[in-house]
Amino acid sequence: MPQTLAINTLTFRGPWVLLRGLPDRVRGIDQAVSTESISANEQADRQRAAWMAAAQAGDQRAYSRLLSDSVALIRAVARRQGVPVDTVDDVVQETLLTIHRVRHTFDPSRSYDAWLSAIASRRAIDALRSGGRRDRREVHDDFAFESHPDRDDASKHTERDQDAQRLRDAIKTLPPGQREAVEQLGLKERSLAEAAERTGRNTGALKVNLHRALKTLRDRLHGEP
């Protein structure tokens, strides 16, 4: 497969030295396929190889740029391997850690992208395997999940508390007559006669006040003016 050979050779850092040894036929095909996109990729690959060479010598800036640049490549490899979208970023993290651990194995005279792709696809396969293991061991019963809601849901409890607090705050802002009606009839659940006796108002006034208070509260709590 001379075409593949030519493309692979192009991704190396010093392709012309290597190409000198190849037969003319292969070199002809190589020239034919050296389109702009290949040379752009090759350029980028060479740049990354140079950054990694600098990083091996301890250059932190080159290293940060290289790793930032690598994230998109790792993502592409992971997606190509069929890693689910929600796991792709875990593969990125694992691959970055592996790159750091084995950065001494990179040979700057060779392709950085090939080196990175090999590591990323290995980590992608690891992720797929551990995902498969998890799916086999953990059972998810959709029906049970939907039909048996948690009775002591902590968030629900908090929500109820918050609602009650909001209602209390709203009641405090009511005019005194309305507030009195709500407290006596609504909160303390007294009868109209009892409430009338305690407040000294007639039952008609209490009813009107309660009606007005409920309307005000309803408007306020539902965000209407």
């Binding site: 932190q60 790793l67 993290q93 592996t98 001494h104 194995t105 040979d107 090999a118």
Partner: protein
């Protein structure tokens, strides 16, 4: 934390603890290093036992010499393949490199059983064949161990495949060393023992070596 800032945080952390590293030597240099250890053992054995028996055997039955050559080539190519496979980004086709020489080694050893026996040289009995088995296995253990230790400094992304090649390299190297003291004619039992020893070494490597290498 979003995924992008999670990556940025990790990149910053890794950058902060970046230290200069000593680059891994090319696979062929590392191969020469391992083979040098085998050569030193061979030199020590030759100086102790001498080369006459070995040469007389090869002279009487050239196919044994061809088998020994196959074993030597297998040790060289398999160790080179192992060192290449342990570097990320190298082609997995390296695994085929030792196959032709391994076929030569196995084929020539098998042919040895078909021809007439060397006059004056006894055929191995089961007891002697057992010694061959023990020799190959006990020598393969340190040779495999050394190879795995060297490979762990690299990053074998295909640990089991690499370990199989490690097994082949150390078993063939042990068979080469056995050749020096092997003053018996080839026989089916002998060949069977060699094959068994090589299979055991490769199998154990695939089981143990794969695990040791995958932690690297």
């Amino acid at each position: 934390m979003s995924d992008v800032s999670r990556h940025d945080a990790l990149i910053d952390a890794l950058g902060a603890e970046l230290t200069p590293v000593r680059r891994l030597l090319p696979p062929w240099v590392r191969t020469v290093g391992w083979l040098a250890v085998v050569a030193i053992v061979a030199a020590m054995m030759l100086s102790h036992y001498g080369a006459e028996t070995m040469l007389r055997r090869w002279h009487a039955a050239p196919d044994l010499g061809v088998a020994a050559l196959g074993a030597v080539l297998t040790a060289i190519t398999a160790s080179l393949a192992a060192f290449a496979l342990a570097v990320p980004g190298r082609s997995s086709k390296w695994v085929w490199l030792p196959v032709p020489s391994a076929l030569l080694w196995i084929g020539a050893s098998g042919m040895g059983c078909l021809r007439a026996h060397i006059p004056g040289m006894h055929v191995l009995d089961m007891h002697g064949a057992n010694d061959c088995l023990i020799f190959i296995i006990s020598l393969s253990v340190p040779l495999s161990g050394l190879l795995i230790w060297l490979l762990r400094r690299a990053c074998p992304l295909r640990p089991v495949l690499t370990a199989v090649v490690v097994g082949l390299a150390s078993a063939s190297a042990s068979a080469c060393l056995l050749e020096i003291i092997h003053n018996v004619d080839a026989a089916a039992s002998d060949l069977l023992m060699h094959a068994l020893a090589v299979a055991i070494v490769i199998g154990v490597n695939a089981l143990m070596g794969g695990r040791l290498l995958s932690r690297a």
